[in-house]
Structures are given as C-alpha cells and as structure tokens.
Point group: C2
Chain length 242, copies 2
Amino acid sequence: MESKHIGGHYLQSYDTELEEVFNHMLAMGELVEAQLRNALSAFITSDLACARDVADNDRRVNTAEVLIDERCTEILARRQPTAGDLRLVVAVIKTITDLERIGDLAESIARMVIRNADSERPRRQLLRELETMGQRVANMLHEALDAFARSDVDKALEIVRQDVDIDNDYEALTRQNMTYMMEDPRSISFMLDISQVARALERAGDHACNLSEYLIYLVKGRDVRHIDIDQVAAIVHDQRDE
Amino acid sequence: MESKHIGGHYLQSYDTELEEVFNHMLAMGELVEAQLRNALSAFITSDLACARDVADNDRRVNTAEVLIDERCTEILARRQPTAGDLRLVVAVIKTITDLERIGDLAESIARMVIRNADSERPRRQLLRELETMGQRVANMLHEALDAFARSDVDKALEIVRQDVDIDNDYEALTRQNMTYMMEDPRSISFMLDISQVARALERAGDHACNLSEYLIYLVKGRDVRHIDIDQVAAIVHDQRDE
C-alpha cells in the first residue's frame, strides 16, 4: 500500500479527504492558540477591544469543530477507513473536542475582562507570574500542534512530561494568591479572577497534554491515557526501535 | 432493515456488539454518578474513608473509558457501521470522554478532602447550598443517562435547559463566597475549597449537558452543539412530527 506523508509516515493509503481533515484540525489548533494568547494578553493589559475580539471569535472555533466533526463522520461512513487511517479519524475527532474546550477557556477569560471593564485592577507581581504560566501553556499547545504536524512522538512525550510543571505553577500561584488575599482582603475579588485564569490555564495545559496522547495513539497505535509516564516513554521508545 | 431496540428505536440493524458497547457506556455512567455523589458527600461530611474510596475507584472509570474506546474503534474497523449505527458509535466515543472528565472532577474533590484531612472545617450555611447544587448536578447526570437509556430526546432537551440553572447556582455561590471571605479573612482557605468544588460541579453540569446533546445527535442526526436553545427545541420537536 502506498504510504502518504501527511506531516509524517503513519497513513497507509493516499487520501486527500484525510489530508484535508487533518489540515483543518491544525488550522483550528492555530486559531485556538491565538485565542488563548489574546485572551491572556487582554487580561494582563485590561485590553477591552482585544477581549471582545476573542469573545466574538469563539464562534469560529465552534464552527470549525462542528464542520470537522461532520467531515470525520462522513469519512467513516463513506470510506470506512481501517488501521492507521481509522486511528487518524478517531484522533482528529478527539483532538477537536479538546481544542474546542481550550477555545471555551479563552472565551471565559475574555468575558471576565469584559465584565470587569470598569473595576480598578491593581498591578501586582502576581500578574507577571500568571503571564509566565500562560506563555508556558500557550507554548505547550503550540508544540503539541507542531508535534502533530510532524508526527513527532518524542516531542509529544516531552509535552506530557511538561504538564507536571504547569500543575506545579498552578499550585504555587494558588498558594501565593491565598496569602495576598489574607494580607489584603480588599484584593479578594481581583485575586479570585487571577485564580480563575490560572485554573483555566492549568486546564488548557491538560488539554494540550491530551493532544499529545492522541498523537502517540495515532503513531504507535497504543492508548497511553491513564498510564504512568515511564510506561508512555517505553511505548514511545521501544516501538521506535522495532 | 430490521430495527433494534437498545433502549429505543434508533438502531438500524441488529447488532449485539453495539448493544454491548452501549450498555458498557451506561454502566460507566452509573459508576461516574456514584463517584460524583460520594465525592460530594465526602466533602460535606469530611469523610476521609469515603474520599479514599472515590480516589481509588477513579482507576475503574479510566479503565472503562479505555476499554469502551477500544471496542468502538474495533467496531468501526471491522463492522464499518453507517447511518444510525455509526452515530451510535460516535456518540459513545464522545460520551465516555465527558464521563471520564466528570470522574476526574469527582477524584479531584476526593483528593482535596484527603489533603485537608487535618484542617478544621467550619460549619456554614454555604455548605448546605453547595450540597443542594451538587445534588442538582448529580440528578442532572442521572437523568442524562436515563434519557440515553430510553432515547428520550425531550428529557435531553430539558437537561440542556437546566444547565443555565446550574450556572446561576454557581454564580450566586461564588458571589456569596466572596462576601464571606471579605468578612472573615481566616475563612479564605476553606472558602477557596468550596469555590473549587462549586466550579467542579458547574463543569460536571456542562458535561451532563454535552451528553444530552450527543443523544439528540444520535436520535435526530443533527449536531446541536453551539446553537441557541430554541433551535435545539425546534430540532427536537419538528423532526419528531415528520
């Protein structure tokens, strides 16, 4: 069977429809990454116009999800793919669900900025840490999409490992946040907003991690969710040596 | 084509494998509902043993997800279902993802109870409101599963409508929570835990709502995500009159 290089070597048969759906997924991923970066920047700089753009653009994310989903179901029905082709369609169906949820998280951050447009926003060290955490998560998403485009399972494994760092960022930020609140109860409302953004970022990191797991499933044919990171590494490495 | 009654009328061909995978999904749903109810109860009553059970049982939820997913991919590969059968498989793949995430939320509540086993937990009116909200969400999940078992799209529509109430519960609880924190900064740590549980419940409600949307897709063949509730109602009602 002829091998087709959609950013890699895992497709068993040439298929423009599969290539199309895969590329649409990557484009949706780029849009979602931009939404996340813009939402974060709107929160950090209290940029109302940018927040409104993010809120408006969520419709584009949702439309992309529905369209790609439809195309996948059509491919399943009409082309009845098997093996690597089938895994590609299943991986795309799962990936777009996670992307749509990152889109929702970006939208919820943007709506918070819009809702609080009139409140005074204290400048704090904490915002810088939130920004750093947000950039890490956005980069993680970028790399997860890039790994997909190149079927780079080593990179995917690295991203799964990174998720622990994001969780630690989140824990540290939450603890520090609580200290600020206790010291200055007038800051509680703003600090709760920061907590909510941090929580959204932490979840976006989880979704980026899910993307990487789907890629490993796609390339290696093994479901690596819910298993130990060392077992994931063994699957990624051992099978490569076959 | 012979019609098969798996809790309804939407399957176009008799298929024990489809029936099996559908029943496994319902069983996974029951497990997740129990996890959510137990996690909430463990938090309300500070029941450490119950929290540990929930944390341990999350493995069962994860295993169920992976197994059902595998069975679905096998069915897609070997039986190449079309029309209603294909929609059933796609709906099951999506549903178990949402169920697994409700399971994760229950686990995160349980782990919070375990982590805070030694802290003193003030008794507050707010806990009663959290309990009420939690019961509403658990009932919503129960009804979403029941609607699936009976292919009851009217009930599914009702659940999609209920999600707004849960969001309102969450907003009200968050506002009240903030007032308590400002009045008594020593309560901040406990109040943040309550906020986090409330947030988890609100998300579990979203997932129950997703389940209902998948059921409408399964029965009506129309993707009703991201559209206005009145349009969803029109799809549920108009098509029934055809």
